[in-house]
Amino acid sequence: MRSKGVKEQRSRHWTSGHGLAGRPRRLCLFLLAASALVAADLPRFRWENFSTANGLPDDHVFNVCVQGDRVWAATENGLGLYQNGKWRVFTPADGLAHRAVLYVAPDPRTGDVWVATMGGLSRYSAGRFDTYTQLNSGLPNDVVYGVSVQGPYVWVATAAGGGRLDTRSGEWSLFNERNTPMYEIWTYAVHATPSKVYYAVWGGGVLEYDVKTERWKDYNDPDGETEMVVLKDQGLIHEITTSVSYAEKDQILWVATYFGASRYDGRNWHNFLDIDSGLPSNFLNQVRAVDGNRAWFSTDKGLAYYDGENWAVYRPALDTHAPEMLVRDKVGKVSRIATETAPAHHYILGIDFQGDDVWVATARGLSHGIRIR
């Protein structure tokens, strides 16, 4: 049994783990060379950061959504659209449901975007906002944490359960404790794919909807709601889930929680903690799968990337705030690499991809990671 205290101890090891004193010199040289090779294989970025000083609606950025050449920033004080080098800001005066924007999801077929806010759900389509609230529509609750588009269906995660809007008929179907295994209705994120829909239920684990069978299934932490890890890799790492990302092609589910991350292949779970992985922290706001082996993690101590073996963390150093990249190879050796730039802040809330580039929502601005070749 490992306690929370143990996790913190190992976590400190991670942040200072590049010392090699006491080891044979040959091994040290080998490891340094190996780390350099690993670092070379991991993506590196030149970071450009945006704040209110250059047009961002607010520095507190909850999420980011890339839609072709358009970048949407979900901020505490409006929705930002970055296109052609300029920011455009949308507020409730433009028809947006609420100024606090929590998530933005593109509709890949129509080019519209769906906007989850603290006061309802909005669809933005070529300059027009249409807003759904719990009063004027079948939306389960006005506090909408997440949204995901699946063909003609729009799935939402709200403070009062999940919901699905059929955009063709206007019908809302609600999902809560009465018709799913959801014992906690505070849904925090949703990821809808053609075959499966996953909900991160804050305090209630993960909920899975099978599109073909129309059946629900829940996944929970086998050792309950405790913060202790009793049965590692025997189930979901924790009940307080914050994000889900399903790599449909590989049929791999990635889950972010406030107490680590999980990967599920349909049979086996593998969990990641800061003590035994490259995660800089167990406090995760979001996970975004690249595929079944690779994923990005938004943590409170930096942006993490896992390529299936090695880890990289991008952030301003926690102590000096100097830009840095941490690399952890598959045997657990860590290198700290000084970089010229870093994301705007180490508290990361969201991430999205633009080709080889990444966009990162942080507590102090939006960052564009331009891939260095």
């Binding site: 077929r109 129509t110 080019g111 519209d112 669809r123 389509s125 070529a126 300059g127 027009r128 249409d130 719990q134 009063l135 004027n136 529509s137 079948g138 389960p140 609750n141 003609p152 009062a160 955009t167 063709r168 008929s169 206007g170 019908e171 809302w172 179907s173 609600l174 809560n176 009465r178 018709n179």
Partner: protein, 616 residues
């Protein structure tokens, strides 16, 4: 001979005895038309007989009648002239017709109530404007499958393509949903045909009821036919011109921003504008005005120079200056009854006009600007009372200065989505939401407060006194008008399954609608049960009730229980349209459970109730 005659009553009796009734007369009711690229054929869409009529333009002779789906509304020809596309508005489908063999070759999918369909220049994709689902289907013509659906404005109904094929423009019969008693807004939905996405939605301020659009051949000028209803002020100002403006929205590179210009004159109205055609040489535009039985001819050079000479600030209110039309209206040409669709011959010398309630086509010589011929589309030789009433319904000749007719608000005999201040009782008093006219025959009394015991009262003296401000219908005409209104068919409900079985949500909603007890087991008084007031075949007990939704500005809290058939179509709701959606009837306007007991329902249960209401 005597023996044969004597058999007729016997046969009639026999028919009656077995329940057979002679089929109702069907009038062609041409609504749209188009011309083949070589000008040799005219294709006419007849919504009354569900057919496309192919006409030899040289001989002015009907070549063939092609049966299509129910109540067809839209007709277009592919740019290569090889295919025709017909939207079957009640069948929710599009027919593709081979223009060579004049046969239907396949059925294509659409949304709810497709009203227009148009193929792109390469015939790769078909765009379909769906009026009830408020969207635009994009159909891959190679596979015949719908590949995506784009959200449009409310009542997506008409399509036009830019001459270079890069953009599709969609216009809407209803305004965008807005706040209670706020100025009207409509939009033109513009689709990029390369990306298959909506890229722009320019607004039409103070506009509701937008019909056809057309482009000049150089693509620099677009024109849209539209109504400007003045519903925020009492309808007691016909003499001031404050009921309905008939106008054109002018847009494109020639003018920059969208500019609205009037079609009316200071003492005469031309309403409602429907079809638009622009001459190939861009000299002239033609607009059909259905209620005025005329085509208005616009001199394009003069309207453009007039707009250019108008200061930018003044352009915004130009549509209200009825003297403006004298600067660019070149002629008014009288045509047949109820002109709707227009089409020019490729050389621009002939203009064909579909006279919907006249069942014929007017052929206009555009050089002479007069009707030089009429092509009859057949149909019954005599007019029934219902058909005569339909002609009256669509006519604007009864209102003072020809200002408007029934069909200006009851667009295409339905509704307009607006709330009107109908009576001279002061500004903002007794606001009334416009209701659907379908299925009203047996729902007396009428008017929001049930003040009119029958349709004769509703449509006769009331119309004369409050609306038209003129001597209107005589007794026979009033009977005909009422006969027509009673005959308006109820369109199919799109939310009901084809097998009439209820979905699980509808079944649960029905149980809530019919329940007699609250969730805690206490009884609900009969007077507060949904299924008691909204009972019978039309879901109304035809009585008055105070359900707590009356406003301080209403003369009485008692409200006529409305019928609920196809209620899903007619947002906003309540007698004054203050509830923007079905949900708001209960989430906003029923705090004390006086309009049915709903406050004990969970959100998903309220959703179930609404799913049931949608199938009524």
């Amino acid at each position: 001979m005597r023996r044969k005659l004597s058999l007729i009553p016997v046969l009639l009796m026999a028919l009656i005895s077995i329940g057979a009734v002679p089929p109702a007369a069907r009038y062609p009711s041409p609504i749209e038309l188009t011309v083949s690229p070589d000008g040799a054929r005219l294709y006419v869409l007849c919504e009354g007989t569900d057919e496309v009529v192919a006409v030899d333009t040289a001989a002015r002779r009907i070549l063939r009648r092609i049966g299509v789906g129910r109540v067809p509304k839209g007709l277009s020809i592919a740019p290569n002239g090889k295919r025709l596309y017909v939207t079957n508005s009640w069948s929710d489908s599009v027919f593709e017709i081979d223009a060579g063999s004049l046969t239907v070759i396949r059925t294509l999918p659409a949304g709810f109530e497709p009203n227009a369909a148009m193929a792109d220049r390469e015939s790769r994709f078909l765009y379909v404007a769906n009026r009830i689902s408020n969207d635009i289907s994009i159909v891959d013509l190679a596979t015949g499958q719908e590949v995506k659906r784009l959200v449009a404005g409310r009542g997506a109904s008409y399509l036009a393509m830019s001459p270079d094929g890069s953009r599709v423009y969609c216009t809407h019969i209803y305004p965008l949903p807005g706040g209670f008693r706020t100025p009207l807004e409509s939009e033109i939905t513009i689709i990029d045909t390369a990306r298959l996405e909506v890229i722009e939605r320019p607004r039409l301020h103070n506009v509701a009821g937008v019909f056809h659009a057309a482009f000049s051949a150089d693509g620099r000028l677009g024109l849209v036919a539209q109504l400007r209803p003045k519903n925020l002020i009492p309808l007691a100002h016909v003499e001031h011109g404050w009921v309905m403006g008939n106008s054109l929205a002018v847009f494109g590179e020639d003018v920059g921003e969208v500019v609205q210009v009037p079609l009316d004159e200071l003492d005469r109205y031309y309403t409602p504008p429907f079809g638009v055609a622009i001459a190939p040489d861009k000299s002239t535009a033609y607009i059909s005005t259905t209620g005025s039985d005329s085509v208005t001819v616009i001199d394009i050079a003069r309207v453009l120079s007039f707009i250019a000479a108008t200061p930018a600030e003044a352009r915004r209110s130009l549509a209200n200056d009825l003297s403006a039309s004298s600067n660019y209206v070149a002629a008014r040409i009288q045509v047949g009854h109820g002109p709707k669709g227009l089409a020019l011959s490729p050389d621009g010398r002939q203009l064909y006009v579909a006279n919907r309630t006249g069942d014929d086509i007017s052929v206009i010589d555009t050089a002479e600007r007069r009707v030089t011929g009429t092509i009859s589309l057949g149909g019954p030789a005599t007019l029934t009372s219902e058909r005569r009433g339909e002609q009256l319904f669509y006519s604007a000749r009864f209102a003072f200065q020809g200002h408007f007719g029934c069909a200006n608000c009851h667009l295409e005999a339905t509704f307009d989505g607006l709330q009107w201040d109908l009576e001279p009782d002061g500004f903002g008093k007794d606001i009334v939401d416009n209701r659907l006219l379908e299925d009203v025959a047996d729902t007396a009394p009428f008017k929001w407060n049930g003040a009119n015991p029958n349709l004769e009262t509703e449509c006769g003296p009331r119309t004369e006194k409050f609306f038209y401000r003129s001597q209107s219908y005589n007794g026979e005409e009033l009977n005909d008008l009422v006969a027509f209104i009673k005959s308006i068919p109820l369109r199919p409900n799109r939310y009901r399954r084809a097998d009439d079985e209820l979905t699980a949500a509808q079944e649960r909603g029905k149980a809530i609608f019919l329940r007699t007890r609250r969730k805690d087991g206490t009884p609900i008084p009969r007077s507060n049960q949904c299924g008691v007031c909204h009972s019978g075949p039309h879901y109304t007990n035809q009585k008055l009730a105070d359900v707590g939704t009356g406003k301080a500005t209403d003369r009485s809290p008692l409200i006529d229980v409305p019928q609920l058939t196809n209620v899903v179509l007619t947002a906003p709701y309540l007698h004054d349209g203050s509830a923007r959606t079905l949900e708001e009837i209960w989430t906003v306007f029923n705090p004390n459970d006086t309009h049915g007991v709903t406050n004990d329902l969970a959100k998903d249960e309220l959703n179930d109730l609404i799913e049931y209401l949608k199938i009524l």
